[in-house]
């Protein structure tokens, strides 16, 4: 685990040095600008809109980091041949994969935490300007701790996307890996439609294929609880735990596949 820790810290350091954290500034500016504009335009809906928009922005910014850095985790090392000296050190290839993954998860965690802090700061400002934390018509307080449930689900989703990007980067080119990762992210949000596909088709092979795809492809839509938390619809803890278990199992499967491919790979 020692090697994993060192590799993970190095990934985090690379993101910091490559100025990935600059996106946080962009996020904060965007959020403040939108809140200012909404304050001018809407009556009573501004907090709900900013809550929704803020969560969506955390997800999108996180998605870009997870995808674009995730696909570079392995492919950049191979392309630039830095992997030669790294793998000649006393480390196992599986430690390399795990270290790279955890390093990016750490980067994402810092990013998501900072974005959430900025998000709450903007909401606090709006509540202060409106003269209270809970006004009629808001459905939930401005500084609602339940928003953290949505943030946690976004983070789990990003952990899955990172694992997908890492898997693709072990065997395909960066461009293809990016396309495949983003495609799977989109597919993952519509995956639930495949579950009941047998009700609308008569062909048994098609229904079987749909079911197989449903269980194989990532199922990301259950992680989207933005609407519920914004409109104060309860999100049970059991639901969150089930999602967490699903994410961890799916990530383990992806990392296992990435490792199996990587430990057999020739670095020409």
């Amino acid at each position: 685990m020692r090697a994993v820790r060192f590799i993970a810290i190095n990934v985090f350091r690379e993101s910091v040095r490559d100025k990935v954290l600059y996106n946080l500034v962009l996020f904060a500016i965007m959020l403040m600008a939108v809140s200012f504009l909404l304050g001018q335009l809407t009556a009573g809906q501004d907090v709900k809109i900013i809550k929704d928009l803020g969560l969506a922005a955390i997800a999108i910014f996180g998605l870009f980091i997870a995808t674009f850095i995730g696909i570079g985790l392995v492919s950049k090392e191979v392309e630039r041949r830095s992997i030669y000296s790294l793998l000649s050190k006393p480390i196992r290839r599986q430690e390399f994969i795990l270290g790279k993954y955890l390093g990016l998860v750490l980067t994402l965690a810092v990013n998501v935490a900072a974005m959430t802090a900025a998000y709450y700061a903007v909401l606090a400002y709006m509540a202060w300007k409106a003269g209270g934390n809970f006004l009629p018509g808001w459905e939930a307080p401005a500084l609602d701790p339940m928003l953290l449930k949505a943030v946690a689900m976004i983070f789990l989703q990003l952990m899955i996307v990172t694992a997908i990007a890492l898997l693709f980067s072990t065997f395909s080119s960066p461009a293809l890996a990016t396309a495949l990762t983003l495609a799977l992210y989109v597919v993952g949000h519509f995956n639930a439609d495949l579950k009941n596909f047998d009700a609308v088709v008569t062909s048994r092979p098609a229904a079987f294929l749909a079911k197989t795809l449903y269980y194989t492809l990532p199922n990301l839509s259950p992680f989207d609880v933005k609407a519920q938390v914004v409109h104060a619809v309860p999100v049970p803890v059991g639901y969150l735990l089930f999602n967490t278990a699903y994410a961890l199992i799916y990530i383990s499967a992806l990392l296992t596949a990435a490792t199996v491919i990587f430990i057999r790979r020739d670095f020409k």
């Binding site: 020692r2 090697a3 060192f6 590799i7 190095n10 350091r13 690379e14 040095r17 490559d18 630039r80 041949r81 830095s82 992997i83 030669y84 000296s85 790294l86 793998l87 000649s88 050190k89 006393p90 480390i91 196992r92 057999r264 020739d266 670095f267 020409k268």
Partner: protein, 322 residues
């Protein structure tokens, strides 16, 4: 126990986009390197030197055969703890400083914080990186990167060190420093296995060499024992000699090339040592300008071997098509 042993080590790469076909980069390499040796692995570009090194480091996997380092299979983590490797034209994380890179690698090697700091500082001194150690590697020249590469290769005080073209990209001073470093490693009892296509490097450093051409081992042994590099004749340059005087000795000379009015370059066969002729010419009043043994250069040898390989492959192809 040899430091490095390979048996029938073979590597095929698949080439072609649509109809993939195997290309044999290394063909049945059997080799043994003793502990404490400086072993030169010579060959032209594309001979299979880097492929062999990558197989020994298990950066690629063999199609057939096996490789052992210090009695254990290549790629074993315990083996990697005892070896060092400098890749050809190394690239390192350019967002790190030299100090950070070595500290990172020292951490992966298993040194504690205090030991990491101590080792990194002394290694950077050893390879001659001073104040630049706190600069990001993206600002380093090729020669400086090579020094960092050498430092990381010997970071763990290795028993066996693999250097892939360690002199490439270095200026004459840098080359001399690397040569001295290799000699220091030998004094410490470290086995050095280095690849090169420069004969002079091998002559200056190696106890033994292996020569690879077209993926096949074509010779191995001490430089002086390798037939191709033995003396094949002599070139004698004499001055103050009149042409008619030379005619008397014409039968003992393979070829005469006039350089100036009274100066000639004389080529002598291997079996006729120059001592007697030289004595006779001096008795005629001639003056010795230079006397050099004629050898195959490594380049000549490579060309010859590559041509042979190409012929033998064509022959194999003809046999297969029959």
């Amino acid at each position: 126990m040899p430091a490095i042993a390979t048996e029938g080590l073979t590597k095929d790469f698949a080439i072609g986009f649509w109809r993939r076909r195997p290309y044999r980069a290394l063909d049945g390499l059997t080799l043994s390197v003793e502990q404490g040796e400086v072993f030169g692995f010579l060959g032209p570009n594309g001979a299979g030197k880097t492929t062999t090194l990558k197989l020994l480091l298990q950066l690629i996997f063999p199609t057939a055969g096996r490789a052992e380092i210090l009695g254990k299979p290549a790629g074993d983590v315990e083996v990697k703890r005892r070896i060092g490797y400098l890749p050809e034209s190394p690239y390192f994380y350019d967002y790190l400083t030299a100090e950070e890179l070595l500290t990172y690698f020292a951490g992966l090697t298993g040194y504690d914080r205090r030991e990491r700091t101590r080792r990194v500082a002394s290694l950077l001194d050893e390879v001659g990186i001073g104040a630049e150690r706190r600069l990001q590697l993206r600002k380093f020249s090729k020669g400086m990167l090579q020094r960092v590469g050498i430092a990381q290769a010997i970071l763990n005080d290795p028993e066996v060190v693999f250097l892939d073209e360690p002199m490439s990209g270095l200026d004459p001073l840098g080359r001399r420093e690397v040569r001295n470093l290799i000699l220091r490693l030998r004094e410490r009892g470290c086995t050095v296995f280095f690849s090169s296509h420069v004969l002079a490097d091998a002559e200056a450093l190696c106890s033994r060499v292996a020569i690879l051409a077209g993926g096949r081992l074509v010779a191995t042994g001490r430089m002086s024992d390798i037939q191709a590099f033995q003396v094949r004749g002599w070139e004698l340059v004499v001055g103050n000699l009149a042409g008619p005087a030379l005619e008397k000795y014409r039968s003992r000379i393979q070829r005469v090339t006039p350089i100036a009015d009274d100066r000639f370059a004389l080529e002598l066969a291997q079996e006729s040592p120059p001592d007697g002729l030289l004595r006779d010419l001096i008795a005629e009043g001639a003056r010795l300008v230079s006397l050099n043994p004629v050898r195959h250069t490594l380049e000549d040898y490579f060309v010859e071997q590559v041509q042979k390989q190409a012929h033998s492959r064509m022959d194999d192809g003809v046999k297969e098509s029959r």
